[in-house]
Homo-oligomer: 594 residues x 2
């Protein structure tokens, strides 16, 4: 390896240089400014930026309100908490965030992960935000982002798909207003749905389905209008696009108006959001103890409730926000460390203001990007819009039908399900498809956290299996009247192939060849167990009158072999051609040493 | 990979062939005879074999008696159980064993692993033998031996070293006859020793140290005699060698005689083995329930007591016996499957006759080999000798001083501590040394089972870290007036390097080069995440007027790239020389597709 990547784990080469580099980094002003990106973009701020940020901020704000309430319901926290989680993390992100497009707020997946803890006490939501913030911040400060590299694309896609399935299934209860619990997993949510299907309510169902259809039509309409392609409609198209981006707000508004009108006529066929406690949140320390079933649970008890699988929450927060940042960064590189610091700070600070865990949200970031946001100040505008709504509009929120919110969530989830990767993996790698399937099935039946763990475990097994069967090409050829074969291992011979190597040698040695050449020019490393087994099989086979040549062996491997079996280096040769060594074998080589 | 190894995991190529091969194997008589090796060697048995087997069997039997008693004491079971575990597994091994040298019986490490369970009830010893037998047999029948490949040489050495340290430390209590408990780990045994050091007993200490010195002198004497090298002493040397091989029995015998004589004079300064219940064991089903502290514990409770770390016992049984079989097999290959079946049957059947877990023992196998054993029938002779002793000599066993037995164990343990590997790894691979150290430290402080797990975990991390930083060589060259660099990745680009590849590309692209060639002839596979990131960085860099050529890409990878980004294949070239492609770049290539 010839890179000097600072994140390179475990190996200690060039360590001194690295320390020097880190020290000089810590002392430079620039590197500190990079940690507070507002100091970079604010000095260049201008009126044009302001106008575009306001347009984008308002559009995103209009989506943040219904989504905030909806995801609060998914998590099981009071609706205003979902709104608070759009406001305060948004403000913090404007200070620390390095990507102008990223919009921070509650997300469906984080809410789903939180739901089972909140079922015991709402205080778990605030503590989760605090702890997730600490974890993410720590990973950022310690530059441990490389740990995320070990979660593969099929695992991430599988996890997202399982989460989307679970969240959509958990909304069936609200969509059809049936009784019973919604269930912790996709499977249990479906079971509950079909068990209680007899209690379905007509008007909620009609409204829910109508909302879904309306949202889908609005989404597709942009494409339809664009296709019609008459040049006079350019402006109509542009206006329409903005309207469509606020489609969630529009559909929710219309449904609320319908509910309000029916209410005026003294009828109420829908389940409504109900009274929302408006105003500002209670500021203060996040709760380090809580009450569950009239019993006080201390900090330790709360930590135990989260368990080790609670670490999946910060993990998902990072994965979501970095994936989103990369998707919208275009050709500029994403500073993953800074993103982790920003998301960590967002959660940490917002947990002092009754927020639940928040991270980059795909839908809202896409809208932000499409609305032409210029700086993270857009995030401040969005926060103000949501803040206004939570202080002034809570009366109006009363009339939002729950079935419509469920429809908003179901439509949002449909876009998260990754069908393309299944097709692609089916065609190209069944083994990676297995990883995806294991993640989805475990996530949907046992729990999302276990899905990510099971998928990662299969990936580890896959890596080990690959290490156990290294790639070795075989070539037969003739030099003079000698039959030879040349074996070329590629990459590393790690401990996992220690038993395979002698087996492979013995199988290859069964042919007519009298000389076996081991061409090691593409070999990087050899573990001690492999080296010992290799030596003993070579000695065994030499007793059966086979001859061995080790060609182009890297020096550190040659040293290891000589260390294990002094005198072994008589078999080691180098040079561009092997022929002369094979022909001169009897002249050059001393007798083998047993 | 071009092997068709039946043990090759996960990948499903040539599956049909494999099924056919397995089916034909199941139907042939030969493959069934291989599963009962006595049917192979017994028909050719002759008088010469018998004589040599008797000599070897008697010599090994003389060592098995003191070691059996000693290891029974290590495990905390009654002394006769240690002897039974030499007898019945020995008989079964004669039927199923494929290696003439291997001697099956209780071993120090298995006894140490068993001790903490036996502390609750002796019934755990018999159940452990039964369960370990089932596990090992199952692994053998299902041909899952490849799972052991994932335990590396440093882990095995570290585990053995930690076990030797722990067992030796646990004997300090007996050697110095101090009071207090002996402790579950090396660290706790040492702590107990130093806490109670004031209670040391003079005469036991003297006898124990004297036994150790005598054993060491006897062991070294062979070398000394051999060195003197006068040809007339040849015969003396041979006789002496046999005597020395029975040194454990000799030292124990002398110590017992001393104790007996002192007893005749009415003095007893030593702790003795005491009364042994002789005769045959009680035959019957292994105990599926037991009594702990006057409470009945059912089968499930006993399983819970073993816990998942109980699986380390069968694992160690296999590792020990296969390692030993290989060490003494010389140039013949060891049939690992058959060895697992044999060890499994030994434990399974012997658990019906009050045996504790047994496996191949290094010291006794070495003696067996040195005594010139010819067939597994030597094992039957050894079993008869031990059987005779347990029925006729139990009165004599009464006088064996415990301090001498402790001395026997301590000396046996000294040879298990692997110092050489530390020196070798220090010189050649600090990372593998870390694996060794983690295994030893965890094993010696937390528990042996956890040592093996911790070491294996570090190995897995090591494999993942290697997969995250693949080997990529860089070459700069000039074609015409164009600066080019050629990057050659070797082996696999797995999911763990998905973030590293774009970073590496961007770093390499910073130089003067205008054309970057990716030479993929040594690339075997590319995960989907790597492929996606590779494509997006190539597209990004092409926007900055760099040009890319992918040379000699394996077809399945080319297909994957084209699947992700249709039109990407315009960059893919092949052929022996890259120069013409670089020069003809503008002619051959269409515009890049964004």
């Amino acid at each position: 390896m010839e890179d000097n990547d600072p994140r390179r784990p475990l190996l200690g080469t060039r360590r001194e240089n690295r320390y020097r580099r880190v020290a000089s980094k810590l002392c430079s002003l620039d590197s500190w400014r990079r940690r507070l990106p507002i100091t970079i973009w604010l000095p260049n701020y201008c009126v044009e930026y302001l106008i575009r940020d306001i347009i984008a901020g308002v559009t995103v704000g209009l989506t943040s309100i219904p989504q905030g309430i909806a995801y609060a319901i998914v998590a099981g926290v009071p609706p205003q908490v979902g709104l608070y989680s759009s406001i305060f993390p948004g403000i913090v992100y404007a200070l620390f965030g390095s990507c102008k497009d990223v919009t921070v707020g509650p997300t469906a997946i984080l809410s789903a992960l939180l739901a089972k803890h909140v079922a015991r006490s709402v205080d778990f939501a605030y503590l989760a935000a605090f702890l997730s913030g600490c974890c993410v911040l720590l990973l950022g400060v310690l530059q441990l982002g490389f740990l995320l590299d070990f979660i593969s694309k099929p695992v991430i896609s599988g996890f997202t798909t399982a989460a989307a399935l679970q969240i959509a299934a958990s909304q069936l209860k609200t969509l059809f207003r049936i009784s019973g619990k919604s269930g912790d997993t996709f499977v249990s949510a479906l079971v509950n749905f079909f068990t209680n299907i007899a209690t379905v309510q007509l008007w909620d169902t009609v409204l829910g389905i109508a909302s879904i259809i309306a949202l889908i039509i609005l989404k597709k309409s942009v494409i339809a209008v664009a296709d019609s392609d008459s040049s006079c409609r350019r402006n109509t198209l542009k206006t329409w696009k903005y309207l469509v981006q606020a489609r969630n707000a529009i559909v929710v508004l219309i449904a609320a108006i319908i509910a309000f009108v029916l209410h005026l006529y003294g009828r109420m066929p829908f389940a409504l959001t109900g009274k929302i406690e408006g105003g500002l949140p209670r500021f203060g320390l996040p709760p380090f103890s809580t009450t569950v079933n009239n019993e006080t649970v201390g900090f330790e008890g709360m930590l135990q409730e989260f368990g080790p699988e609670g670490l999946v929450m910060p993990l998902v927060a990072i994965l979501e926000s970095i994936a989103i940042a990369k998707a919208f960064a275009g050709s500029t590189t994403v500073d993953a460390t800074q993103e982790m610091i920003a998301i960590g700070m967002c959660n940490l600070l917002a947990s002092f203001a009754q927020s639940m865990p928040a991270t980059g949200s795909f839908t809202r970031t896409a809208i932000n990007h499409a609305s032409g946001v210029m700086t993270p100040a857009g995030s401040l505008v969005k926060a103000s819009i949501v803040l206004l709504s939570v202080t002034l509009l809570t009366e109006a929120f009363y009339f939002i039908p729950r079935a419509t919110l469920a429809g908003v969530i179901v439509v949002a989830m449909a876009s998260l399900i990754d069908v393309q990767i299944v097709r692609r993996l089916w065609r190209n790698s069944k083994l990676q498809l297995l990883v995806f399937v294991v993640t989805v099935v475990t996530g949907a039946s046992v729990g999302l956290e276990y899905g990510i763990l099971a998928g990662a475990a299969v990936d580890v097994l896959r890596t080990l299996a690959a290490a156990a069967r290294p790639h070795i090409t075989t070539q037969s050829f003739k030099v003079g009247n000698q039959d030879c074969i040349c074996l070329t291992p590629v990459g590393s011979l790690s401990y996992a192939c220690a038993e395979y190597i002698p087996m492979m040698l013995q199988r290859r040695a069964r042919g007519r060849a009298t000389t076996i050449v081991l061409d090691a020019k593409h070999l990087n490393s050899m573990d001690i167990g492999v080296a010992e087994n290799l030596i003993s099989s070579i000695l065994d086979l030499e007793e059966k009158n086979l001859r061995f040549l080790l060609w182009n062996l890297p020096e550190h491997i040659a040293r290891l072999l000589e260390d294990i079996q002094p005198g072994f280096d008589t078999r080691i040769v180098s040079g561009p051609s092997i022929d002369q060594h094979i022909l001169g074998l009897d002249v050059v080589r001393r007798d083998p040493i047993y």
